[in-house]
Symmetry: C2
Subunit: 282 residues, 2 copies
């Protein structure tokens, strides 16, 4: 059992971890850390947090488990401050959508003071944001990728894995580089493409958007995601995203070549191959 | 009230029209026409059809309202045969996903024998197909685009519009060219893009697909659509699709330029603009 769980950033993800940890009795005390006391109050009022503070150092000073649930570019900056304030023996993890930059920053800090850090990325976001949409079952059945390196202690990896599993998640382990390439392909690229689809339709047939049927709505739902969050993700994972866009472009070009050639059988074979791959997902 | 409704092709769309017309008492008799008697039997057995025939001419001979619910390339061929067999005064419509080619074919036929044709396109497809997924409420709240031309008689347009409205649909009127450009942007392009997303991920990170979260699943759901149907649609609407792909590409290139430039404010402004456009949809 965690004695004191400090959650830095009490929005959708941080708030849902707090609610799930409270519901599951995973921590004796849960402290929320945020920049705005006003916005932390609902989580104290509803009993999810035992206390809320705006001073990061005070919030993590007695924590044995620290979760950084801020936007991805902010986490790098927070790490340094947490590293100075957290007690010996504390385990730190995060929810950042990219992992290479964060894990590398933690390894630099660990060279001067050996605290345990294990990167985490729950695939449980939403196009909605904020504590008001947090819910205790957000991680039930969701995948959480944890990203240990050669320097990660096995006990820290085990504790982190068990933490997410206790919230109902399935945990998968990838190294930080593979993680970033993977989420570029399955998360960041689809988001970018959804944005381009909306924008392309706006440019070509603005009136068409009003007729958009279920296919268009589903395909572009994620284009309504939080611009702040996605700005950070796209910038943090620029290299892997570029590689994904190139693979996508080649796939699109190949499909267009088959369409332009006009052969019914060839096109049907391509679409059947892709349909089969998509159906293995669900 | 329709005296005899002939539905050529009793799959998801044709079957749903039959069920809805039966439930709403829109037609005295409903005849199904298909190539395979075996596959028509369930719709007779469950009382949706009064009769099912495999002979097209026999099926439409006494019909005052004919609905062509075959795949889009097949409809052009069917039109000619229906034109020869249908009685004077019959009104013909269809459910084809592209309209220029079909409306043009009908206008050629009308030059020699003046039957009424009004093109229709219900935006109510699904990635599933066949009579077993047909349902009487498929058109409830759905949009149906009807595509009259200057030569269309107002009474035929009115009857067609009222028919779809009686099934619960909202009817929008576009000329056939605007229709084809519109559906290229909001339906055919998203489908092509979803296919390219699946294929791009397969090429780059085949293992990544297993981790695909909700964003990827939603964005690529339509890639599991019927390959036969989409082969015909892509080939029938090739020109408008190409224009849509080009608009999409320009939008994607512009977004990538903003990401590569690395400016937080510029990227956030772009994503916020697109989010606002997407949110006007739902």
């Amino acid at each position: 059992m965690i004695q004191q769980l400090a959650i830095v950033g009490v929005g959708l993800l941080g708030g849902s971890v707090a609610k799930a940890a409270r519901a599951g009795g995973l921590a004796r005390r849960i402290i929320g850390v945020g920049r705005d006391a006003e916005r932390l109050r609902p989580a104290v009022d509803d009993g999810t947090l035992d206390a809320a503070v705006t001073d990061l150092a005070a919030g993590v000073r007695e924590a044995d488990f620290v979760l950084l649930a801020a936007p991805v570019l902010a986490i790098e900056g927070l790490l340094e401050r947490v590293w100075r304030a957290a007690p010996d023996g504390a385990l730190i993890t995060d929810v950042g959508s990219t992992k290479r930059n964060i894990v590398r920053a933690a390894e630099c800090l660990a060279a001067s003071r050996p605290l345990a850090f294990v990167g985490s990325h729950p695939l449980a976001g939403s196009e909605q944001a904020g504590y008001r949409v947090a819910r205790p079952d957000l991680f039930r059945g969701a995948t959480v990728i944890v990203t240990p390196t050669e320097g990660t202690e096995l006990s820290a990896l085990k504790t982190t894995t068990e933490f997410w599993e206790a919230l109902g998640a399935r945990v998968t382990t990838l190294d930080p580089e593979t993680h970033d390439r993977t989420v570029a392909a399955i998360s960041h690229l689809p988001h970018l493409i959804a944005c381009a689809l909306v924008d392309g339709a706006l440019r070509l047939e603005p009136a068409a958007l009003e007729l958009a049927a279920r296919g268009f709505r589903d395909t572009t739902r994620i284009a309504a995601g939080d611009p702040d969050m996605w700005t950070e993700i796209f910038l943090a994972n620029r290299d892997a995203l570029t590689a994904s866009v190139e693979a996508f472009r080649r796939a699109l070009d190949d499909l267009r070549r088959v369409i332009d050639a006009g052969g019914v059988e060839a096109l049907r074979a391509e679409l059947a191959r892709i349909k089969a791959a998509r159906e293995r997902l669900s």
